[in-house]
C-alpha cells in the first residue's frame, strides 16, 4: 500500500509556496521564504548525491564491467578526485583552483560549441531532405534570410529608407511566432504543475 504521507508533504509544500505568489501576507511570507531556502538546500544536496552516484556508481560499475571500455571511466574518477582534493586543499577562491574552470572547462566547452558549428552547418545542408513540406521550405528560407541579416550585409541597402524599414520588419517578424509559442508552452507548464500539485502525477516514488 503506498504511504499517503509522501503525497501529502508534496501537496502541502506546493500549496504554501504557490499561495505566496497570490496572497501577499507577511505571515505566509515568513513561512514561505525559509521553505524556498530549504528547497534550494535540498536541490544542492541532490546534486551532491547525483554527482557521487555518477562518479562512483555509474563509472565505478563500468570499471568493474569487463565488457565496457575502462579508459573513459578511469579518467573521470581520477580527474574528479584530483579536482575535489584541490578544491578542499586550496579553497574555492584560490586562483589555481579557478584554473579548473578558466583553463580546462571553458576551453573545452567553447571548443565543443565550435565543433557544433561545423556539425550544424553540415546538417543544414540536408535540411530540405529532412523536412520536405511547406513548413520545412519556409524554415529553409528563414534560415538563409536571417543569416544574411546577422551578417550585417544588409547595411549596403540602409541608404534606401524603404529597404531599411523592410529589414527592420524582417528582424521583427520572429516576434509573432515566438510569442505564440511562449504562451503555448506556459499553458502546458501551468497544467503540468497543477496535475503534480493535486497529486495526479507523482514523479517521486510514493
Amino acid at each position: 500500500m503506498r504511504s499517503p504521507i509522501v503525497p501529502i508533504i508534496g501537496f502541502l509544500t506546493g500549496i504554501i509556496i504557490l499561495a505566496g505568489y497570490f496572497v501577499p501576507s507577511p505571515v505566509l511570507e515568513a513561512i514561505r521564504t525559509p521553505m524556498l531556502d530549504w528547497a534550494v538546500i535540498l536541490s544542492g544536496v541532490a546534486g551532491l548525491i547525483a554527482i557521487f552516484h555518477l562518479v562512483f556508481g555509474v563509472h565505478g560499475r563500468r570499471l568493474r564491467d569487463p565488457e565496457k571500455s575502462h579508459v573513459f571511466s578511469f579518467i573521470v574518477i581520477l580527474v574528479f578526485m584530483l579536482t575535489v582534493a584541490a578544491g578542499i586543499f586550496f579553497g574555492i577562491n584560490h586562483t589555481g583552483f579557478q584554473k579548473v574552470v578558466t583553463a580546462i572547462q571553458m576551453p573545452m566547452e567553447t571548443s565543443l560549441m565550435a565543433v557544433l558549428a561545423v556539425t550544424l552547418a553540415y546538417s543544414s545542408l540536408r535540411l530540405l531532405q529532412r523536412q520536405r513540406n511547406w513548413m520545412g521550405f519556409v524554415f529553409f528560407i528563414a534560415v538563409v534570410l536571417y543569416l544574411l541579416v546577422n551578417s550585417g550585409i544588409f547595411a549596403l541597402v540602409t541608404d534606401i529608407t524603404a529597404l531599411r524599414g523592410l529589414v527592420a520588419g524582417i528582424s521583427q517578424a520572429p516576434l509573432a511566432g515566438a510569442r505564440g509559442i511562449l504562451i503555448g508552452v506556459a499553458l502546458g507548464s501551468l497544467l503540468t504543475g497543477i496535475r503534480i500539485l493535486i497529486g495526479s502525477d507523482r514523479p517521486y516514488n510514493s
Binding site: A50, L54, G57, E109, S123, L127, I181, I194
Partner: protein, 251 residues
C-alpha cells in the same frame, strides 16, 4: 505583479483545478475519452518504442537540464511522465530503458520512476540504479555524457525530451548519424529550432506537454489537454478584446 494580476491568477487557478476534476470524473464515469488530432511524430514515437522492444534493443531517454527550482521544471515533470510510460511499455523487454539527465534532483527522480515501474511490472531483477543517472552537471557536460550512451551499440532509439540549449544539436546529429530512431521535443525555443533542423520526428512548442496525454490516455491527462485548449481560446479572446478596446480607446 500588481494585485489585479494576482487575483485573476488565483481565481483562474481555482477554476482550472475544479474543471480538471470535473472532466476526469466525467470521463471515468462515461468512459468516453475526448479525441485529439493526429500528431505524426507521436504516432511514430509509439511505433518506434514497439520496434525497439521487438528488436530487444535499448531505449535511451535524455531528460534535459531543467532544475526543479526553476520555472522550466514543468518540462522535467513531463519528461519523467514520458519516461514512466516508456518503462511500462518496455517492461517485457530484457533491456530496460536508460535515462540520462543534466540535473542532480532530476537524476534521482528518474531512478525513482524506473524503480517504481520495475516494481509495478514485477521486473525488479532487471532494475539497476545506474539506468537513471546524471550524465554531467552542466548542459554541455550533460551532452558529452549522453554521447557515450548514444554510442552504446545496444541503444537503437534516442528520446530527447526536456529543457536544452543549442548544444543538444550534438545529441540529435550523433543519433541521426548512427541511424538510430530519434524523437525530440523541448520547451526551449533554441532547442526546438535545432531539433527542427536536425531531426525528422520533432515535436514543436507545447506538443511536449501533450505527449503524456497521447501515450497514457488517462482521464486526468485528457482533461488537462482539453483545459489547455479552452485556456488557449480564452487567451485568443482576451487578445482580440484587448486590441479592440485599445482601438476604441485610441479613436
Amino acid at each position: 505583479m500588481n494585485s489585479l494580476e494576482m487575483n485573476i491568477g488565483l481565481i483562474l487557478l481555482i477554476i482550472i483545478t475544479f474543471t480538471l476534476f470535473f472532466f476526469s470524473i466525467r470521463q471515468r464515469r462515461t468512459g468516453k475519452a475526448p479525441s485529439f488530432r493526429r500528431i505524426t511524430a507521436i504516432s511514430n514515437f509509439k511505433r518506434s518504442i514497439g520496434m525497439s522492444i521487438e528488436d530487444g534493443t535499448r531505449i535511451h531517454v535524455s531528460l534535459g537540464n531543467a532544475s526543479l527550482t526553476q520555472a522550466v521544471s514543468a518540462s522535467a515533470f513531463a519528461s519523467l511522465k514520458i519516461l514512466r510510460k516508456i518503462g511500462e511499455l518496455s517492461s517485457n523487454s530484457d533491456n530496460p530503458p536508460v535515462a540520462s539527465s543534466g540535473d542532480g534532483a532530476l537524476a534521482l527522480l528518474s531512478q525513482d520512476t524506473l524503480h517504481d515501474v520495475a516494481r509495478e511490472t514485477h521486473t525488479l531483477e532487471l532494475f539497476q540504479s545506474e539506468n537513471g543517472h546524471l550524465a554531467g552537471p552542466t548542459p554541455v557536460t550533460n551532452v558529452v555524457g549522453a554521447l557515450q550512451t548514444i554510442a552504446d551499440p545496444e541503444v537503437h532509439t534516442n528520446v530527447l525530451i526536456g529543457n536544452y540549449g543549442s548544444e543538444v544539436g550534438f545529441l540529435s546529429t550523433a543519433s541521426q548519424d548512427k541511424g538510430a530512431l530519434t524523437i525530440a521535443a523541448s520547451d526551449s525555443l533554441t532547442a526546438q529550432a535545432t531539433f527542427f533542423a536536425t531531426v525528422e520526428q520533432t515535436l514543436i512548442g507545447e506538443e511536449l506537454f501533450a505527449v503524456p496525454a497521447y501515450l497514457h490516455n488517462e482521464p486526468m491527462q485528457n482533461a488537462s489537454l482539453r483545459i489547455q485548449d479552452m485556456l488557449r481560446g480564452l487567451v485568443v479572446l482576451v487578445l482580440l478584446v484587448g486590441v479592440i478596446l485599445k482601438l476604441v480607446y485610441a479613436l
